[in-house]
């Protein structure tokens, strides 16, 4: 009897009994996540084909599509959408790649890496408003040099902002996406032992840029593919930035769709649903085209790699790229500065370089509204980021305890909310939420933010969490600590820095949300973002500046805290400091 082999066992078999609730987290997370998107998509597709009984659409038909095709200006709207969206995606991708290729581990690189968090924390609405103030014909840049250098007594009659081709929008998008792509690439580089690859290539006689493109880029691209797709999807379907930077007659497709959904003319809902579906198709097609481009690049690239060109470029290339990136960063920062100045201006007419009268009135007069909107922003942001953090930690801990290895498909699911245009499913989701009496409350707003916060928190946390040396956990377990205690007293403190960073990322994402707040909040939820956008279509510039500046300030404070708190807590623990 004693000879009998034990059946195959897992020595840790006792653990899952206690981790049952933990196992439910990934399932719950996916449901929480995909449920509203799937429902929202269906709720949008049905009316797109004429079916929405509540509005008298009883049968299926192509009516909405015929109407859509005949809509005046649809052609220019699509052209505008494609030009600005694709240009922004391409430019930010190309700039991010060429910056890392030419400036990896140079001074510019380290400087930019330090600036990444504040750049990332900048909400796109604030960035768009700041940029518009900056580059308009009567904007700050023109004021600084006029009329002295230019002789422009009056501003040029030139469409720089809201230009017919959407170039200003493309610029704004590129400024916003560049730091995101850089961050994603840096994360990917960290996992590929890029330094060794580069060293090997350099010893084989490859120039630094060529070595980077030939040995590092192919290794990191699979990991940044989804972020790049997310950039494409976002650029093609952005509403809030487009309302500020893109022309209005006609606007890009997503703005048109947004208008139709909010038109008092009820029948336009069908048109909106068809437009939203077209928006989805457009994004899918753009990603498809990009994917084909990838394959082509791989095929051509193989041959090119094999050819063995060493590519020694002169110093002008890194300098040029660094200058271009500096310009982008400079524009973003100057835009924020401009917001700050405007928020304290009383009278500031063209061509004065600075306000002729200053005042605190803008802040004081808005204090009630600011407190209210700021408080809502803060609460929703903290709730969404906090819940996201708990869910993500649950998923990651579950993955660790049960030795799961998530597949690429799961990652796709996670990215889904970033790949599906917001206007394509928010309407459908709203209809469903109204039906169940779920709209207009805190829960709905937080949930809608969670859809977009969760993926980013996961992206920010997964890597450091998985990278934590498993042997710390094992040591702690063997010292007699229960898994729960190990989690709370060993893992969490050791991961405090990335945890807080992920929280700040989640908070910043929530602060920036516009459409979800409007749709899920039934317009009752006034956040700094909704205020800034609604004011930006024509409010007092000084007040817009107040809201936009505060909107940019909140995430910045969050990132600073995420940096300072662990630094202070662990000021006497040398190994808890980040290694630069």
């Amino acid at each position: 009897m004693a000879d009998a082999l034990q059946p195959l066992t897992l020595p840790g078999a006792a653990a899952p009994v206690r981790g049952r609730w933990l196992r439910a987290i990934p399932v719950a997370t996916l449901l929480l996540f995909l449920g509203p998107i799937a429902a929202g998509l269906i709720g949008t597709w049905l009316p797109a084909f004429g079916y929405l009984p509540a509005l008298g659409g009883e049968s299926f038909g192509l009516g909405p599509w015929v109407e859509l095709a005949a809509y005046p200006g649809l052609g220019s709207s699509l052209r505008l959408t494609l030009v600005s969206g694709l240009l922004a995606s391409l430019a930010s991708f190309a700039l991010a790649v060429s910056f890392l290729a030419t400036c990896y581990k140079t001074r510019a690189f380290f400087l930019l890496r330090r600036l990444l968090a504040p750049l990332l924390s900048m909400p796109h609405v604030a960035l768009a408003i700041g940029l518009a103030f900056l580059i308009a014909p009567s904007g700050w840049l023109a004021r600084l040099i006029s009329p002295g250098l230019t002789g422009w007594e009056r501003p040029l009659d030139l469409a720089i902002v809201q230009d017919p081709h959407g170039l200003a929008l493309a610029l704004g998008l590129a400024l916003k996406e560049l730091p995101f792509l850089l961050l994603m690439m840096l994360g990917a580089i960290g996992q590929t032992r890029a330094d060794q690859r580069l060293a090997v290539a350099r010893t084989l006689g490859y120039g630094p840029v060529m070595a980077w493109i030939k040995t590092v880029l192919p290794a990191i691209y699979p990991q940044i593919r989804l972020p790049v797709y997310a950039v494409i999807a976002y650029s093609l379907s952005v509403v809030d930035m487009a309302m500020i930077l893109a022309p209005a007659t006609p606007p890009p497709l997503a703005v048109l769709v947004f208008r139709w959904f909010h038109d008092p003319e009820l029948s336009l809902r069908f048109l909106g649903a068809a437009g939203a579906t077209l928006q989805l198709v457009l994004v899918a097609a753009a990603i498809g085209i990009w994917h084909l481009g990838e394959r082509l690049a791989v095929r051509l690239g193989r041959r090119w790699l094999f050819a063995g060109g060493r590519g020694h470029s002169g110093p002008w290339l890194p300098r040029g790229v660094a200058a271009l990136v500096s310009l982008c960063v400079g524009l973003s920062i100057a835009g924020m500065l401009g917001l700050a100045v405007w928020s304290f201006a009383r009278r500031w007419r063209y061509p004065e370089a600075l306000p002729s009268e200053w005042s605190l009135d803008n802040w004081l007069r808005q204090s009630d509204g600011l407190l209210w909107a700021g408080g809502t922003t803060l609460l929703v942001g903290l709730a969404a980021a906090g819940i996201a953090l708990v869910l993500v930690l649950g998923c990651l801990e579950n993955e660790k305890r049960h030795g799961l290895h998530p597949t690429g498909r799961i990652l796709w699911l996670l990215y889904l909310p970033l790949l599906v245009p917001q206007v394509a499913f928010l309407f459908g989701a709203q209809v469903i939420a109204v039906r169940f009496g779920f709209d207009g409350g805190w829960a709905a707003v937080v949930w809608s933010h969670l859809l977009f916060v969760l993926p980013y928190v996961f992206l920010a946390l997964a890597e450091p969490f998985r990278a934590l040396d498993e042997r710390y956990t094992r040591s702690a377990l063997c010292l007699g600590a229960r898994p729960g205690r190990v989690f709370w007293t060993v893992k969490l403190p050791m991961l405090l820095r990335p945890l807080l960073f992920a929280l700040a990322v989640g908070f910043a994402v929530s602060v920036a949300q516009y459409l979800p707040t409007l749709f899920a909040g039934a317009g009752r939820f006034v956040t700094l973002t909704t205020e800034a956008v609604s004011l930006s279509t024509g409010g007092d510039r000084r007040v817009i500046a107040v809201y936009a500046f505060l909107q940019a300030l909140l995430p910045l404070v969050a990132f600073s805290l995420a940096l300072l708190i662990p630094a202070w807590l662990f000021r006497h623990r040398r190994d808890m400091k980040v290694i630069e």
């Binding site: 509540a54 009659d157 007419r349 509204g369 009752r524 409010g539």
Partner: protein, 402 residues
Amino acid sequence: MARLTAAFITLALLTFQTAAAAAQADDWDAVLEKARGQTVFWNAWGGDERINAYIAWVGTRIAEDHGVTLRHVKLTDTAEAVSRVLAEKTAGRDSGGTIDLIWINGENFAAMKDQDLLYGPFVERLPNQALVDFEGKPTTLIDFTVPTEGLEAPWGMAKFNFIYDSARIQAPPQNAAALAVWSAINRGRFTYPAPPDFLGSTFLKQALIELAEDPAVLQAAVPDEATFRSVTTPLWRYLETLHPFMWRDGESFPASGPAQRQLLNDGEIDIALSFHPSEASSLIADGQLPETARVLVFPQGTIGNTHFVAIPYNASNAEGAMVVANFLLSPEAQARKQSSEVWGDDTVLDLDKLTPEQRRLFEALPKGPATLAPDALGPVLPEPHPSWMTKIEAEWLTRYSR
């Protein structure tokens, strides 16, 4: 036509006044009682900070006097609120709606009235409606030719006018045609907000009234497509000549009135549109316009209308909303609104119905440098029927939003 309107107004007044007499103080006390503790979600266009500040002030006063909390839901377009109520109706939410009060007039009111989306009639229940100048200001009862029937409470009077920078223009144009000539000489110095922004739409209506062969047809619904074509042809011809000389060659337009005002302050244009004759003074005081800004009205008259507040049929806090509507009609609130230091929106009240003390509130209002005397404002042209506006906006989009 005019006689018909007059007859209608008289009729409306009669029913109204008897109803008003019947409105009992008890009823209002019950309303006040129910309203206490309610939170009123007021959906109002939020594009003008001075108006927002005024609404915030209303909120504080209402909380003090009646224990009603006011939340201003800021809209970029009133149509958003209308569509919200529609969405709720289609979803079967016939009570517990998310909107309690809407700042409204014209086509949005017509749409809501048409679809039975309004609560009331409630105006006769408001004690302060007795002070409204229904006789002298017929637009308080006929909103864009549509009878209000007590479904919306008048709030303020608007009269279309222009603001120009007198430092740059000595002799401003005196009618629509002259404006086109002036634009051709001063290229790129004029523009109007893109319809359906109400100021932009009003500019089109103003031009149409001036250019149409028989403006009287505009007072009834558009009879048929052919009439619409023939009546509006002069307008489109006018715009074809005007646009090439406008700001950005008429290729793009500011999104709203305040955006256009900003352009005036930035020096990008020299003439802007306004709906409130005291607005210019108010903006000068606020640092948003140069001291040299002045108001211009066309001598033959400009469009005037009234703006209102209405309550959706499914409002959760209708009593609170009525308390707000009543407060908006109080001499205190009306006088403050008219002050050029606050907003500069003219009152709907009849000063003769006020006590001397209340009247003094209005007489004490500061006169800004750009404020015209009441007799210099010129005649009021009536708003066309909303169906004209809807069709003109659609046609404008087809022609110029490509």
